[in-house]
Amino acid sequence: MKRASSLAFGLACLASAVHAQDTESKLVINDDIDITTVAEAPAHAENLSEIYSGWAFRSPETMALQMDDFDNPGMIFVDQALDAYNTVEGSAGKSCQSCHGDDAEGLVGARAVYPKWNANAGEVWTMEMAINGCRTERMGAEPWGYTSGNMVNMTALISSVSRGMPVNVSFEGPEHDTWLQGKELYYTRTGQLELSCANCHEDNYDMMIRADHLSQGQINGFPTYRLKNAKLNAVHSRFKGCIRDTRAETYSPGSPEFVALELYVASRGNGLSVEGPSVRN
């Protein structure tokens, strides 16, 4: 019975592959930053041969929005983050700029290697956890909500200065157990629809799910400005949305489960470029 119902669901949702992912178009931002949107799959993504940025699955109009920072609405929020970056807050009398330099220059490359093992904390930290670490430990300021506007804007700023650099997340060191936990979550079916991440984004990417072109679920473009809600979306918000859509109770943004899942999913994109803030539908 389980098998029959999931087959029926599959037929309903994945009726036809209308168009292949676009592997021909090249993404160059501002005529300056070359973005790798197609790459050979890393060995640890053992069920994929090539990896594709979500950009390659979008319509030509949506793809074009990311080619110029003045067309990319996500860049408004990078500007807002830069104001926050330069603002002194907290008991230590510091701003982000005090340590990391003008225009986040000291943070170039950071996005490419997060989530990352934090030896002091003895756990894997996402970019959001690192930002709040700075705020509470170094600035003496209040932490930001995990998916709050301030937080997602700041992650967009930090990502923007690493655009074009290859994602290169470590997973074989002290973070390996967390990575394995993330991998298990990726392949675990959840919800009334009994779908895992892999059912859509590994087994059926490039198929249509209703009128939407299913991507590989790569997260190199996060945070992403969605045309749907016209704001920047954090990767844990996307995870939550996906799991909710399987009709499951979801984990919370910032939870250890989502941190582990982010590490694993990020590692599947090793070799694609940091792209955020990207534009998606």
Binding site: D68, F70, D71, P73, M75, I76, F77, D79, Q80, A230, K231
Partner: protein, 109 residues
């Protein structure tokens, strides 16, 4: 909406006298349409930018009337003549009476 409104404007830094240049503008604004309802079923009142104007040295380039069908974070792209060196003034008019302005100078060279 007065808080958090952030204009972005792209104007070349210089041009030759008589050139036609392309200008892009983007401003953060939720553009509440007046068509949506809140969780209690009450209509959320309309709150949009209803007009956007661009002038160069006091002469008009474009004057746009915006309706609720303009997307969140309104974007415009258009062309302007540049007869001389001077300054562009960009003005967005909010339903709530707020006016946001941005200026950009352009040199001839």
């Amino acid at each position: 909406m007065a808080s958090g409104v952030k204009p972005r404007v792209k104007v070349p830094k210089s041009a030759s006298a008589g050139d036609v240049i392309t200008i892009k503008t983007l401003i953060s604004h939720k553009m509440e349409s007046g068509q949506r309802k809140d969780d209690d079923g009450n209509v959320i009142p309309r709150s949009i930018i209803n007009r956007f104007t661009v002038d160069f040295n006091g002469q008009n380039v474009i004057d746009v009337t915006l309706e609720p069908a303009i997307s969140t974070n309104p974007y415009f792209e258009f062309d302007s003549q540049v007869p001389e060196a001077g300054e562009f003034t960009f003005t967005w008019y909010d339903d709530d009476g707020d006016v946001y302005t941005e200026t950009k100078a352009i040199a001839i060279g």
